[in-house]
Amino acid sequence: MKYVYCLTSDVEPTDGLPPGLGGTKVYWISFGGISALVSDIDPEHVVGNAQNALAHHEVVQAALGLSPSVIPCRFGTLVANEEKILSLLGVHYACLEANLARVRGKVEVGVEVIFDGIATTALRQREAERAEENLTPGEEYLLAKRQRYEVNRELKEQAERLGRALNEATALFWTEVKTQKRFINGRLLLNLCYLVDRERLSSFQYAYQQFKRRWSRVKLLYTGPWPPYSFTEFFLPVPRFSLDKIA
């Protein structure tokens, strides 16, 4: 079977690619200027471990250095044979071409921010109330529930404020942004992913550093540049008919 790492455009075959999963040789299967980076692998060897995850990522990262447009595939993408890959590229050509154009010359940059509930005013107020009052277990339970709600609301507001401010501070240098908020053990993780033009990456980084200095009370983490994983989330079914039916 063929393990597919990513889809790219305008790429010239090269020997400079790192080995794929299990040390397999990575090569290109191309159709009309769109290429799939693949290696031949037994599906039983496609195991979700750190070694394989890094091998997958290194191939996609290397493709980013060879092509202006890269659509990364999700880990574990297997297609039966070359004919199926060519069918896939042919049938979904317009969709793939549009998405390759969308990410052309761009990379993804991530900014993560953790907001801790301990510092919220809602928590401080509730703790003061609890200390003053002699509460029954039922009242204690309801108060804790209300406190969690208020802390979460305050954390969300803080995250939204920071997200808006960072978006504005870097607005000249990105074309799309995706925001994700997740609660983990009473803390809120804000994840911002920016689609940044490669030519503007250093300007984005400068604007980010300036912003970070102004928001020194918050811990910000910058990651990337990544292949545009967060901007190529879509689903493509493999066609069940053969190549001769495409044209």
Partner: protein
């Protein structure tokens, strides 16, 4: 074109996993999608999830019945094919016996 170097403050294995397992294009073929008992589309997602236990908790266990991905399913499939062949052989034997019985 030059390699793109990482300049991040915190790019770790967790960051890599978060991206390669949850994001990126999904290519799939051969899963059965049914609507009101009518099979609309047959595709087969070949996603390997990092934690099989976690996937099972989420009710995702389709690979267990997929002969490409599960050795047990493969054995079951092989057994089913063998049983079919045995049945075919039995039918052929009976037909030969019938033909021989009515022959000259």
């Amino acid at each position: 074109m030059q390699q793109i170097a990482h300049t991040g403050e915190a790019s770790s294995l967790a960051d890599v996993l978060e991206r390669i397992l949850d994001k990126g294009i999904v290519i799939a073929g051969d899963i059965k999608i049914k609507l009101c008992d009518i099979e609309l589309l047959t595709i087969n997602i070949r996603l390997i999830i990092a934690s099989v236990d976690r996937a099972k908790e989420m009710g995702i266990d389709w690979w267990e019945s997929n002969p490409f991905l599960s050795s047990m399913a493969r054995k079951r499939e092989e057994r089913r094919i063998m049983e079919e062949k045995d049945a075919e052989l039995e039918v052929l034997k009976r037909r030969i016996e019938q033909i021989e019985g009515v022959g000259p």
